[in-house]
Symmetry: C2
Subunit: 345 residues, 2 copies
């Protein structure tokens, strides 16, 4: 392992266009892989998997054994932060997470002082991955962005329109701000710790940046993301940060201008020409194949991969899906995708 | 009733800016009104309500008795088309609609020839509304756009990501096209019949225009909407049409340029400055208050209403929510909203 080895994906985040785009896949360590399902089946629940370095390292590395990916991403979840804060977080069956919703009254019961101690096993996973990964592979750490995490903490579960959290923000602006401040601070501490433990890059997953008017977007997405970038860089100067504001749509230009992220992840609904026009040419972009095109595979997928690569050929570009890979994805389609991207189509 | 009376909302759709924006509210005849809930409770199911002119006329007119709205919208549902085609469509409890999902094999069982006969009661409702409404009120008819309707027909229910329908379109392109063609034809016939029965304007509800990359958006949203506009105008020249492609986001400029709609509805996540830049100045816009701002009410709502009116003061603008009003909306907030808009804030 050598810190000075060339890592094409890290270099791209830092603004250096590569001859062929490097590639990783959101949720690349996941249920579409039988070897992942095997580890998951013998773990004592999803959070146990996240908090057991032996297992988390193993599943983080699994996709790189199969595919010539340019990065490993820490295996963890955006909801480890509420769990670390002491909120009840459960993952049951195929249901998605269930949290005990917080209220303005129960907000004071959260324990921000214990976050890093609680997440120590995740940081150990980062250290072990750093020690194991080949020198040309980038190690990506991550955290959920405050609005996205808050939407689960307030709503108690995933929701297509985040109505509970959006109403909370309108009805209880002070309590909402207290929560966002707490999440900004916890995210900064957690991301700094990941970088110090060996992550090359960190990604902010703002998975629910949709469904906000621009006033709410500025307050609930842009400002907390900006504060995290500022806070992380105050302790790790020039820390490489990817922002992924899924659904930012008409707010994407404001997001990249204001947050200070190095690179921006594009969801698959972002038109290529639109992205090229809204995001400055010097800004690296990441994305953005529809995961269902990967499920369906074949000529339509290959055509779309070519379009995406061509659209961003003049700027630093990291190939990725525009949302997480889904469990029903055929493994051979993933292999074909990686081969196409590596060939530069 | 006089066909030549000035109707501010119709005039706005036709491109004439008014001193104050006219207003209607998506789903204005709905569960937030106790008088609606009373009629609904004594109807024999939701579709029975849609197909019984006495009841449908009554609930269509209820919101205009309470509020100084500029339009009545036909009380119906976007899923009357699959019901008319012979697909099983059920509305049960608070669950949302349940359909027997169609497959490439069962597509041939649909019966496009019976659509207009089946929808005759809805057309009778339009005629009665036309005969009842004050001469300055605009009567709005509507239909679901093919992609949105298809997403229910294929998925069997509402879905946050329309995964079933999106995969169907990728895996069975010919069957998908057959379905879209059928829906385009049915929509044209249905909208023409509504216009001939007395609707002043029709709106195309493309409620699920999100979650599509621009290739899919062009095929699944723009082209079917364009064909409907063309087909309707072939039989009702200059028919006034509002398109509402919810979630069009980065595709909004392409949508308005290609479909031929007179006016475009903006969802609440569309930033005001972005909309003003993407939609040509001559194009009337409709929207776009977040329905949850109306639920929460108070100073934040009033400030946002002022922003919206100011942002579109230089073009024809119809005030509306950016999505349907929700059941928990306090009636007094609706009254306040209408008062603010009528005053021009």
């Amino acid at each position: 392992m050598s810190a000075s080895a060339h890592k094409p994906l890290l270099a791209t985040v830092l603004g250096q266009r590569q001859a062929r785009p490097p590639i990783w896949i959101m949720r690349q360590a996941g249920r579409y892989l039988p070897e992942y399902r095997a580890v998951r089946a013998r773990s004592n629940g999803f959070l146990h998997l996240c908090y057991t370095p032996d297992l988390a390292v193993e599943v983080s590395l699994q996709p790189l054994r199969r595919f010539d990916l340019d990065a490993a991403i820490l295996f963890s979840d955006i909801l480890v932060i509420p769990d670390a804060l002491g909120q009840s977080v459960r993952f049951e069956g195929g249901e998605g997470p269930i949290l005990e919703p917080i209220t303005p009254q129960t907000l004071g019961l959260l324990r921000p002082e214990r976050v890093l101690e609680h997440l120590a096993p995740v940081l150990e996973t980062v250290r072990r991955l750093r020690a194991t990964l080949a020198p040309d592979k980038t190690l990506i750490g991550f955290s959920g962005s405050p609005w996205t995490v808050a939407s689960y903490m307030i709503g108690g579960k995933g929701s297509p329109d985040q109505a509970a959290a959006r109403l909370f923000a309108l009805r209880h602006p002070e309590a909402f701000q207290t929560l966002m401040d707490m999440l900004v601070d916890a995210s900064v501490a957690y991301l700094v710790a990941q970088l110090l433990a060996g992550a090359d890059v960190v990604q902010l997953f703002e998975s629910w940046a949709l469904n906000l008017d621009e006033v709410a977007f500025a307050r609930q997405v842009i400002e907390p993301n900006r504060r995290i970038v500022e806070g992380v860089r105050a302790r790790v100067p020039k820390a490489p940060i990817i922002g992924f504001p899924r659904g930012a749509a008409g707010n994407i230009a404001a997001y990249v201008a204001a947050t200070g992220v190095n690179a921006v992840g594009l969801d698959y609904a972002t038109p290529l020409g639109f992205a090229a026009a809204q995001v400055p040419l010097a800004m690296p972009v990441q994305g953005n194949l529809d995961p269902l095109r990967l499920v369906a595979g074949g000529a339509q997928m290959e055509a779309r991969v070519s379009q995406i690569i061509a659209a961003f050929a003049d700027r630093p570009h990291i190939f990725n899906l525009g949302h997480g890979i889904v469990p029903e994805t055929p493994i051979e389609h993933v292999a074909r995708l990686v081969e196409l991207v590596k060939r530069g189509v």
